[in-house]
Amino acid sequence: MKEIITKNTERNFKSISSFKEILKGQLAGITLILIIMFVLLSLLTSTFLTSTNIFNILRAFSWIAISAYGECLVVITGGIDLSVGSVMAFSGLITAMIMNAGITVPVAVLAGVISGSLIGFFNGILVTKAKLPPFIATLGSLLIFRGLCSGLTGGWPVRDFPKVFSYLGQYDIPLFGIGIPVPLIFVVFLGIAMFFFLTHTIWGYRIFAVGGNETAAYLSGINTDRTKIMAYVICSTLTAIGGILMTSRLGVASPTAASGYELDVIAAAVVGGTSLAGGEGNILGVFIGAAIMQILRTGLVLVGVTAYWLQAIQGLIIIIAITLDQLRKKRI
């Protein structure tokens, strides 16, 4: 017995994201799903495993993944952010409108990002100070900022951006003989940053504590309101970055852009193992979750499923993934 104790206390302090533990559990499951999908699609189609296709997938999933990192934080605190789709469109639009007013690109991009942060702050205040349920608060924001997009543009898309701006979403950086899309670099760097933020900083720790048991966290001297506000701010800020990348990629800021993306973002977070009950989640899982959702979308089209059937199958996959996870938890 004594031997067991000493051996085990020697383990390092690992947070929820301990690599080994994750591989044993939920992450192993979704990684397996990802690999199976990958292998199947490579065998079934000749077009799937081409670098063009792979990079198309990576590019298309990048804004969903970036936003889902943020969504993951909010969901861990026990909340939910439904406004991400609107934030993507709104921040892209703000950037576009400022650029078209003749102001330099960096300033416009920064303004777009900050507009996102402010929306997050607004959501956070509604949830913590006005004590609205997160679902209601962010549902309100979803409508408000979608409405502002149409209102500001009169419903017309904004286009004709400076050339520099299009690099963000369209340029491929040549590396080892292949072109790496810029958005993918954002996905990877922000992913790594968020991973360490969640597992190695006091702020990440507080997010888990608040989501795990808000009362206990509060009674331990944690400023629970501030922690939640921070989660919403980070979520909307990341989402705004995603929205700007998307706008650059598409070359147009449409007031209806990213409609319904909140569901893709939430799905990516949840398939990636973020528990809607709060207190559980990890960034690597979210990354894989977002990849699964995108490969599904592209892959189904490649195997010849018409776009009309897509949503039904997506929904089914989400339900299967979560059900499997519930079964796994029960077994333990």
């Binding site: 206390t9 383990r11 302090f13 900083t201 006091i202 048991n213 206990a216 509060y218 009674l219 001297g221």
Partner: protein
């Protein structure tokens, strides 16, 4: 209807159950006759709850046999248990608070109207209320079937639970710590109810930590320890000492030691603390090295006083001084900063994040001091956790075990460790030993002695009078939000405390 011949309602033979890493029950034999009240006692983790959960279908046994009315059964699920006539009343009631008493009693089995209403599934409210009334009368309760459950007192809600069991014609009623949340008078009413069930031939299994009650109500006492049935005694032949010895394998005097510490300067002074409807004009001081006990009935405002101190609720009025300096505490965060620490009464809901690990809980209040620029120094955290895990002998297989999987006593020690790291000047403890086994209790008492010796001022709220009397230097008795007496260790007695706590004052004694 009344069958005076005693029949064996329930027989448990050689039942075992294990969970990963724990043998929760091994080879337990147990029986219950009709019209009998059996008390099941044992420390936390002794296996009482596991046994009850097997009987009520929440867990499945690994091996052994269960006979109900002489027939062997496999209890599949709670619904099945109910069909077999086994009802269990948990500490947390299974009542819907916003519905009427009658609706709760008939929850899931509502009678449907005759006539045309039948086709719409309309509930026959009248019949439901009439029947509920009859059942309530069977336990001589005066509760109206029409009252809303949320508006009833805890004791009344419990009666509703009992009547629910009657409504499904339970033959075996299991009560898990039914008196834990009741006042003295309410306990007597509960006992009347239990006795009336007994007269109707129902067999009752009563689980309690309060031994005095066990002696009052039961005919037979069954003692469990470490998942085994240690033995059973006829209540008429048992003594408290004997039962405790069977429970812990040790005797009473072994675990409550007060080592008087040197009492020095005042560390905390509270003047004229008020919160409307809860706390009235509370004044007291706490000195370094002193243990100040707060006694009073549940709901008397004991917890509210310390919640005001710690900034959980906001005070209407009043001043708090620490070391002569006036404090401005608006939230627990402020309180922690000035050196207060608070062990709340409910570990699971207020003290711990059950999903997080031992380490993550231990560092919750002091995280900032183990980080630089927000980056957590995991080596430091590991080191300090190891130190406190061994200092408080927290029994956990490894530091990253989720606290969810620890026993109650070890969970409580994690809460204590969290606050000890913060090096508090004043430690507030609300029911520090509730629901934990005697071994862990004695470790917590020893720790309190040690802290007092190091000059920490301790405020301890407790419902267990022997604990208050044993550990405190002074005892403050609270009645309806006011301090009704401050007693010195030497003059205090259970009787005196109870008379002040119930607002009778000294004359009555």
């Amino acid at each position: 209807m009344r069958n005076l011949k005693k029949e064996c309602l329930l027989k448990v033979e050689g039942v075992s159950k294990s969970f990963p890493g724990v043998q929760a029950l091994s080879n337990v034999n147990f029986h219950l006759y009709s019209g009998e009240i059996v008390c099941l006692v044992g420390e936390n983790g002794a296996g009482k709850t596991t046994l009850m959960k097997i009987l009520s279908g929440a867990y499945k046994k690994d091996s052994g046999h269960i006979f109900v009315n002489g027939k062997e059964v496999e209890i599949e699920n709670p619904h099945h248990a109910q069909k077999l006539g086994i009802s269990i009343i948990y500490q947390e009631f299974n009542l819907t608070r916003n519905q009427s008493v009658a609706a709760n009693i008939y929850s899931g089995r509502e009678p449907i109207q005759k006539g045309i209403g039948k086709y719409f599934g309309f509930v026959d409210r009248k019949l439901m209320e009439e029947n509920s009334q009859k059942l309530l009368e069977r336990v001589s309760s005066k509760i109206s079937p029409k009252s809303i459950v949320g508006k009833l007192s805890v004791a009344e809600q419990q009666t509703v639970e009992i009547v629910k069991a009657l409504a499904v014609e339970a033959k075996i009623v299991i009560m898990d710590e039914p008196t834990a949340t009741l006042g003295e008078k309410e306990v007597l009413t509960l006992f009347d109810t239990i006795n009336s069930l007994k007269k109707q031939g129902i067999g009752i299994i009563f689980i309690s930590h309060r031994l005095e009650e066990v002696f009052k109500i039961s005919e037979r006492i069954v003692v469990m320890r470490d998942g085994q049935l240690i033995g059973e005694l006829k209540t008429s032949q048992a003594t408290v000492e004997k039962v405790i010895q069977m429970m812990v394998g040790r005797s009473l005097t072994d675990f409550l030691h007060k080592i008087p510490a040197e009492i020095k300067d005042t560390v905390l002074e509270v003047r004229n603390l008020n919160r409307k409807g809860k706390v009235k004009n509370v004044n007291f001081i706490l000195r370094s090295g002193e243990i100040l006990g707060i006694a009073g009935l549940v709901g008397s405002g004991r917890s509210e006083i310390v919640r005001l101190l710690f900034g959980v609720d906001s005070k209407d009025d009043g001043e708090i001084f620490m070391g002569g300096k006036k404090l401005n505490i608006k939230s627990p965060k402020d309180a922690v900063r000035v050196g207060l620490a608070f062990v709340p009464e409910d570990r699971a809901f207020q003290g711990l994040v059950l999903k997080l690990s031992v380490v993550e809980n231990i560092i919750m209040a002091t995280l900032k001091s183990f980080s630089s620029f927000g980056w957590i120094n995991k080596r430091k955290i590991k080191k300090i956790s190891e130190k406190f895990v061994s200092r408080l002998s927290i029994r956990t297989p490894y530091l990253h075990q989720k606290v969810l999987h620890l026993s109650g006593g070890n969970q409580q020690k994690v809460v204590l460790a969290k606050w000890l790291i913060s090096n508090p000047r004043v430690l507030i403890m609300d029911e520090p030993t509730r629901g934990i086994d005697i071994g862990a209790k004695s470790e917590i008492y020893a720790l309190m002695n040690e802290l007092a010796k190091n000059g920490v001022g301790i405020i301890m709220i407790s419902s267990e009078l022997p604990e208050v009397l044993g550990m405190s230097d002074r005892i403050m008795v609270v009645h309806e939000g006011e301090i009704s007496a401050v007693l010195d260790r030497n003059e205090a007695s259970q009787k005196l405390i109870m008379s002040y706590a119930s607002g009778q004052g000294k004359e009555v004694v």
